[in-house]
Amino acid sequence: MDTGDTAWVLASAALVLLMTPGLAFFYGGMVRTKSVLNMMMMSFSSLAIITVLWVLYGYSEAFGDDVGGGLVGDPSQFFGLKDIIGIGRGDDNLGVATHLVFTIPALAFVAFQLVFAIITVALISGAIADRAKFSTWCVFTVIWATLVYFPVAHWVFAFDGATAGEDSLGGWIANRLKAIDFAGGTAVHINAGAAGLALALIIGKRIGFNKEPMRPHNLTLVMLGAGLLWFGWFGFNAGSALGANGIAAVAWVNTVTATAAASLGWLATEKLRDGHPTSLGAASGVVAGLVAITPACSSVTPVGAIILGFLAGIICALAVGLKYTFGYDDSLDVVGVHLVGGLFGTIAIGFLASADAPAGVDGLFFGGGVDQLWRQCVGAFAVLAYSFIVTYIIGFALHKTIGFRISEEDEIEGIDYAEHAESAYDLIGGSGSGTFRPTTSVKTDAEVPA
């Protein structure tokens, strides 16, 4: 066990956890005043629900010994995690974990991978803003994590012999196909983006989509959220080195570089096309760059990261307009930013990878031929197809049974009040002309303890 590696991975896990509240701000600022709380609650419910699933069977389903074909881990192997929490109790090994993943305690790896699962689920919610029944969303997240995220995490993140014993087998994308996805361009971003598209198609457009203005209600929240996402993303990408080492440092520098370039790319596109560089464009460019560099941060050089980021900013800035062309209401552009950005970043590795970078692979532009390119394409489109199809089935079943959409009246009135009996802002101030009714009896003559 390496204490430096362990410290870095535990710190990275905390950084990645912060991304989900950051995403809540990012998304929350983009919706209208009447639905900001529901938007943020879809992220916070993911924090609550996925954590419990992960401890019970999620980790095991993703990182247990392969049950066949590299498709899914054994959900019972690490059920409840109790078999991997052991530590040394002697004088010379006190506190040293008895179960390791590479050089870190298995539980540090459990923590790090948990926060990936949480944010992937939360990302989907941007596609169905303002109109999804909260109870159905909660049920959906349980089913989706179980049938889509945990298996796909196994495909991409479970390496042979790493988590479930020396002879164990991991997922097919990581070990058989050998596509490069350093931190989750496929498992996180393509996965969430494809799921968002499927749900947006099933649930349908917001009332007034493409007719009424649906302006972001608070762009300062969006900027704050983008900042928190960027900060947390260093845990996401550099933490994926699973060690405090040179790979982590390269991933860190590539992450900041691509993100900066993507923000420039998005702003340049807006300036040329619309005449004004916008704050929403700067924040969106940041996220597009982070998404695109996620799979590639160990396999490109810093100059490669500039090229990859700048192109990602331009491509995503153009892709967010697709929903108007095709007429689906992906409200906060999960498709335009995460699906398109994830696809671009994952496939771009096939062109821009350089053997000088830690992954040690040359892409097409560096004389490596198409060998890595086809692996990247197969991995990306396999996750895209699996996620879209299974999500569509889950969403369709829920929509036809318990219903996925709130009533028209509630949607117009505002989902915050309809689903949560709250409102985000007291805009008029001193709205104190109602009556107060405590829900528990208030003792007026309670005894004061001595």
Binding site: R215, P216, E270, T278, G321
Partner: protein
């Protein structure tokens, strides 16, 4: 007595207020308003999608004035709120039958 109502650009409020105080107007009521006139609204662009914002922010200022002062006060408001550009707003007057000061019960011009 007349009620003078002015709908003006928000950033002109302080100037108008100062000019009215200098003229000797004792009080006024100000509220935030939104609306449009011949300039219509403006367009904003979010992630490439253009929104026409019809209702632009305005300030609505109301002053009660005794009849001999009406023309002068209107003049003060118009002069101090004018930028000469589209969207400067409107000023209008309406007759008022009576005004009562709540604290004392005084009526008419005494209540101003």
């Amino acid at each position: 007595m007349k009620l003078i109502t002015a709908v003006i650009k928000p950033h002109k409020l302080d100037e108008v207020k100062a000019a009215l105080e200098a003229f000797g107007v004792q009080g006024m009521t100000v509220s935030e308003a939104s609306g449009y006139g011949r300039q219509r609204g403006h367009t904003e662009v979010y992630r490439g999608a253009e929104y026409t914002v019809d209702l632009v922010p305005k300030v609505r200022l109301e002053v009660l004035v005794d009849d001999p002062d009406v023309a002068d006060v209107v003049d003060v408001i118009v002069k101090s709120s004018q930028t000469g550009r589209i969207g400067d707003g409107k000023v209008w007057t309406t007759p008022v039958e009576d005004v009562i000061r709540v604290r004392t019960g005084e009526h008419g011009a005494d209540a101003l």
